[in-house]
């Protein structure tokens, strides 16, 4: 019934009219004016009561009472600013913290991947147990054999991560990208938002070269123009036709923790059965009813057959990971712990709130006893209390939601890129509404429940008792005292658990961050400059470019040292076979390999990698005199145990390589080049200046600033970009993996 309500004044006007008419009637029948008025009033009965009844019937009372309660509640809250502030803050923090952390945990751990049947998708790598290698890329031969013979997967798609220099439609730029098989997108169940996916004919090496853009690149570089489809772009000095655009937020969630989100996917992967280069990752969809272990067993049988045909593949076995666990990786336990902490925070917030309200209730027992004694109805008092709770809840809730929103944005800003790549939900910085609703309701329910305590305490049969009791000195009743004790005890217990947990977590993280990386990442900026084609086809030209560039950079103010290199800790890996002169013909499958780093003369000084013996490279390492190498302690330990590695000789490449022998002139300290939690690997450094070294198509510039990272870093890079127009810089990110932990911890 939503019709216009009658006003109380209208009603009283009517009753007045009634009395007047009645008085007139009585006067006409002969009464005196006074008598008639009195009789009319008598006949009417209780005017006030009639008006009250009308008032109550029209329900204005409810609103009126609410306004009154709100006013009173506000006055009460203003009278106890300490209580109000603590209560509102408790609510806000409880809601905000819980929501932020849970949203993050959900985005990272629980949210299903945006792929069709994501639980059946496995990431395919390989391991070599005899040699202790894990998480390696796989070769085309293996992909094909597993796909066609293992019978464990509905399909397997291969892709390769690479770097693309994009020319055309604006400044040249370099982006991470992937060369993918045409069945990758159908396998994941994700179709381009515009255009088409690759067709099987485009998988061949000589097939037409086509590219699919990421949504981000399409918007950034092509202004979200639909006409981009069909356009030709130059990628790595080859012409590609754009055929599609992937949906926003689509990223290769199957990346290694160090992987970048591809800006582009290219066709022409050319998977050949003879290919034994380990350049590819695989994604497979398990056949229904087959689990990871069964699949691995079937693939191992194929691998065993394969390694007899291809000695290069000796010892390699498939290593499968369900895509979802691949994404969250080792953060799983950290986030689970965090989740527990969140629940504790929520519980503490609830207990705290309950306690606050109980204490407040106890202190107001007298007030409520007086009100009862004066005839206040039970319902009226409950409503009053509920209104007060509502006010607190409203303030706390609004603040909590704001905190949650800010927190989630902050979380997105602080999260390491690797985590953002794999959890696009996190990057959006949007609070999870279900969690927000849960936290809100849990805490608000507590607020309302315990907000009623004074009314329930006041519901004892004799308000006079309370009055007497409190009159005697404010001792509270034993019953409410017990409830509060329980709350306080449990609150303290929860806080203790939380404290111990947090302490342990901080300790673990402290241990982790105290891992000596073997180099000093502080004040190091890294810069990637790809050189492609044209005048840089000649190794000599490249070398000149680097020398020139390093000199220019070193001349800049604030730069301590600079060096060109190919391969940087942490994360870069360039596996290179080599043989030592002590064992020039190792059996097939046992050819040693090392991380191959082309380093400038100031490389070790710039990264502050200690030299354990011998010397670093210098400008005289050219020509025949430059056939030198530096090995790390790990390589020396593996190949020349208990011998002096200086003066030993080794040769990059397979045993039949014709490359010249290199003499070891220095031993460098071990570096955690694959992450602080990964062990040491053999590493082989060769000088940058050697013209015969396959001059790197990508070189890294490394440089340090003085003590302070002055704003000139950005300025410097800005100038650099302007000059070479082909530069991307990133601050050194030594912590990709465990920085995520630190991030979690600081958020906590």
């Amino acid at each position: 019934m939503f019709r216009r309500r009658r006003k109380a004044s209208d009603f009283s006007a009517e009753t007045e009219t009634h009395i007047r008419i009645e008085t007139e009637r009585l006067r006409e029948s002969g009464m005196s004016a006074e008598e008639a008025h009195a009789a009319a009033r008598r006949a009417f009965g209780n005017v006030t009561q009639a008006q009250e009844r009308f008032y109550e019937a029209t329900r204005w009372l409810w609103w009126d009472g609410l306004l009154q309660d709100v006013g009173f509640g506000l006055r009460m809250l203003r009278k106890t600013p300490g209580f109000t502030a603590v209560a509102v803050l408790t609510l806000a923090l409880g809601i905000g913290a819980t929501t932020v952390i849970f949203s993050a945990v959900y985005a990272v751990l629980l949210k299903p991947l945006p792929f069709r049947g994501a639980d059946g998708l496995a990431f395919i790598q390989k391991k070599n147990p005899p040699r202790g290698w894990t998480r390696n890329q796989v070769s085309p031969a293996e992909i094909l054999a597993w796909r066609n013979q293992a019978g464990a997967f509905e399909d397997i798609a291969a892709f390769r991560q690479t770097s693309c220099v994009l020319i055309g439609a604006g400044q040249a730029e370099e982006d991470p990208c992937e060369v993918a098989e045409s069945n990758l997108f159908p396998l994941l169940g994700v179709a381009p938002v515009m255009g088409r996916a690759f067709s099987p004919g485009e998988d061949k090496d000589g097939g037409s070269r086509v590219a699919i853009l990421s949504y981000g690149l399409w918007r950034r570089r092509f202004g979200a123009d639909a006409a981009a489809i069909g356009r030709a772009i130059e990628v790595n000095h080859a012409s590609y036709t754009i055929v599609g655009v992937m949906p926003a937020g689509f990223s290769h969630l199957y990346a290694t923790p160090y992987g970048a989100v591809p800006a582009m996917w290219l066709s022409g992967i050319a998977i050949e059965p003879t290919g034994t280069w380990n350049d590819y990752w695989g994604v497979g969809r398990l056949k229904p009813g087959i689990d990871l272990r069964q699949a691995a067993a079937r693939m191992d049988r194929i691998s065993a057959r394969l390694e007899r045909l291809e000695p290069d593949l000796k010892g390699w076995r498939a290593q499968l990971t369900i895509l979802r666990t691949m994404v969250s990786g080792d953060l799983h336990s950290a986030l689970a712990v965090l989740m527990g902490a969140v629940v504790f925070v929520l519980l503490i917030a609830c207990a705290n709130m309950a306690n606050l309200l109980l204490a407040r209730g106890a202190s107001r027992a007298t007030e409520f006893a007086v009100r009862r004694a004066l005839g206040a109805g039970e319902g009226r008092m409950v409503r009053q209390l509920l209104t007060e709770s509502l006010l607190i809840a409203l303030a706390g809730g609004v603040l909590g939601v704001l905190l949650a929103t800010w927190g989630c944005h902050g979380m997105a800003a602080l999260a390491p890129q690797s985590l953002l790549n794999s959890a696009p939900g996190l990057a959006s910085g949007v609070a999870d509404l279900r969690v927000l609703a849960f936290a809100l309701s849990a805490i608000l329910a507590t607020t309302f429940l315990f907000g009623l305590a004074p009314a329930l305490q006041g519901a004892r049969p004799h308000p006079t008792e309370t009055l007497k009791e409190t009159g005697r000195g404010g001792a509270q009743s034993p019953r409410s005292g017990r409830l509060r004790s329980i709350l306080v005890v449990s609150e303290i217990a929860l806080a203790m658990v939380l404290l111990v947990g947090a302490g342990l977590m901080v300790r673990t993280l402290a241990e982790l961050s105290h891992v000596d990386l073997g180099f000093n990442p502080a004040h190091v900026l890294t810069l990637r400059v790809p050189l492609w084609g044209g005048r840089y086809d000649q190794p000599q030209a490249q070398l000149e470019f680097w020398e020139h560039l390093v000199a220019r950079i070193e001349a800049l103010p604030g730069v301590e040292s600079a060096s060109a290199s190919r391969g940087l800790p942490i994360g870069d890996w360039a596996g290179q076979f080599f043989t030592t002169s002590d064992q020039p013909n190792p059996p097939a499958g046992q050819v040693p390999d090392a991380n191959y780093i082309v380093a400038g003369s100031d490389y070790f000084r710039t990264l502050q990698i200690p030299l354990r013996g011998g010397r670093t490279f210098n400008q005289y390492d050219t020509g025949i005199a430059g056939r030198v190498a530096i090995v790390n302690e790990e390589l020396a330990r593996l190949h020349w145990p208990d011998q002096d590695p200086l003066g030993k000789r080794l040769r990059p490449g397979s045993p039949d390589s014709t490359a010249p022998w290199l003499t070891v002139v220095g031993v460098a300290g071990n570096v955690h080049s694959q992450g602080p939690d990964a062990g040491f690997h053999a590493e082989l450094y060769v000088p940058c200046q050697l013209p015969w070294v396959q001059a790197p198509e990508h070189c890294w510039c490394v440089r340090t600033f003085g003590r302070s990272r002055s704003p000139s870093s950005a300025l410097w890079c800005g100038r650099f970009i302007v000059r070479t127009k082909m530069c991307r810089w990133r601050t050194s990110r030594p912590w990709s993996g465990s920085r995520a932990n630190r991030w979690c911890n600081s958020a906590w």
């Binding site: 009634h18 006949a43 009639a50």
Partner: protein
Amino acid sequence: MSTQEAGERLELLQGTLDLLILRTLIFGSQHGQGIAHAIQQTSEDELLVEHGALYPALQRLEDRGWISAKWGTSANNRKARFYSLTAAGRKQLVKETAKWERLAAAIGRILAREGAES
């Protein structure tokens, strides 16, 4: 609350006031005092209608849509709120009347039997 004469008059049974109001309004629109007066007169002063109780009842009937109200001018030129039956009210009156007649008849039958036995 009750008047001095209360003892001599019949108190209204619960729920019958509505019926009486609806019945009274069948002759045309009337203001509150007029309704009270009409009930009293028609019942030959047997029924006690507390005027104060009349208005909440009128309000209730109005809320249910059985009567409608409008401010108008009374016979002796006073502004008063006039009530009139709506179509729904008319239907309700028929229903209530039938119900009342059945009730009265039933009570009458019981009383007649009791009377015969005693």
